[in-house]
């Protein structure tokens, strides 16, 4: 039997869970509630988990399901299967992104279409494999990858716009055009 130290569990996951909750709800108070509810669920149901290596996925899945359950207009968020295709995202110079404030990057993430925001957030957390993201969001792995591919492209567009609004020069790779 493996014992999971609850305080260690909170220490390790409360911040990434909050950031995931924030990207879903786009609201700090709701994100805090989602995290609290997730750990409450762990305290009451966590013992049912049979595989300790699944704790991380369990927590993120629980938060995501709770978020979905709280959505008022569920019919707006019916999951549909995406065709498996990847697209080349706009290439923004790293120095441009480096100069951006993290709040601007967060805002750009919040501007993403609902379908893309959750997988892209989990992708950028760099803690989850594509398979784990598929498990958390309960969608096929191919759909996860398509959505991440499109979401990344959308995010780059948003960041490009944000940087342009700040008067920075955006370099488009390939044609090496400059604008902004």
């Amino acid at each position: 039997m493996a014992e999971i130290d609850p305080e260690q569990l909170v220490e390790t996951y409360y911040a990434p869970l909050y950031r995931f909750g924030l990207s879903l709800s786009r609201n700090e108070a709701d994100a805090g509630d989602l995290v609290q509810q997730t750990f409450y669920a762990w305290a009451t149901k966590g013992h049912q988990l049979r595989n300790p290596s699944k704790v991380k996925t369990w927590l993120f899945t629980t938060l995501y399901r709770d978020f979905l359950a709280k959505r008022r207009h569920a019919d707006r968020f019916v999951e549909t299967e995406d065709a498996l295709d990847f697209i080349e995202p706009l290439h923004v110079s790293p120095s441009v992104i480096d100069a951006l404030d993290c709040a601007i990057v967060q805002k750009a993430l919040h501007a993403l279409d609902d379908r893309y925001r959750a997988p892209v957030t989990l992708f950028y957390m760099q803690q989850h494999s594509y398979r784990e993201i598929a498990e958390i969001l309960a969608i096929p792995i191919g759909t996860v990858m398509s959505r991440i591919s499109r979401g990344r492209a959308e995010l780059r567009d948003e960041l490009s716009d944000a940087a342009a609004a700040e008067g920075r020069k955006i370099v488009r790779m390939g044609g090496d055009q400059a604008h902004g």
Binding site: A15, E28, F39, P52, H91, I97, C102, S129, Y130, S149
Partner: protein, 249 residues
Amino acid sequence: MDEREARAILGMHRAGETGLDEARLQEALRKAETDPELARWWNEDKELDLLIASKLVHTPVPAGLKARITSGVEMQPSVVRPNWSRAILLAAASIVALAVLFSSWRGPFQPAASMADYRDEMVSFIKVAPNLELESSDLERLQDFLEKAEAPARLSVPKKLRNYEPLGCRVLRFRGRDVSLVCFKLGGDKLAHLFVTDAKTVSTDGSASDPVYAAEEDWMTATWTEGDQSYLLTVKGDRAALEKFFSNS
């Protein structure tokens, strides 16, 4: 495979990942090896993703959220049961029984948390106005409540602080132990927060019966030990704002 397709595939490739079409991935990787422009693009693309990730990971988390989670939820250690066969489970049960017995012997010798960690967590808890479990200006009533909750209840409130009216109390958890919090009204919106826990919960410097002062951002804290209890008093402000509660004049 054209360059556009190679970029789309490489952009999604992460070390150790499965899910991509292996043949197409290998083709894209080979292309990157022979095409310096594509290789340069891929390196920048990876750098870009790392930068975005680093920005997102710095999204601030509200102060006090962790303390709210640990105090709001009674979190007992969870035992995760692997899906073993019954025979193995029974064999393991006897080993676990011995382990539990052993761990109960070890309990009293588990190291206390550092005072810095305790101070940090308690202050982070009150940065966001905490919900009180009982609101009352009657200190005895608050102590009765804490006693019924089996939390530290025999409070030795600094003499000068007793001149102020209590606002209420609640029990929180720190590293598996109870901490009693009693709030006092100092006038206006200002409050003094008194945390009391078993002295074994936190390690102190010697007896430390005299207050030890430390700043925690905008908050000043005083910690001391009295009998078998450890005290932490905090107010927003400078050291003088706290020292007045301990002065003999």
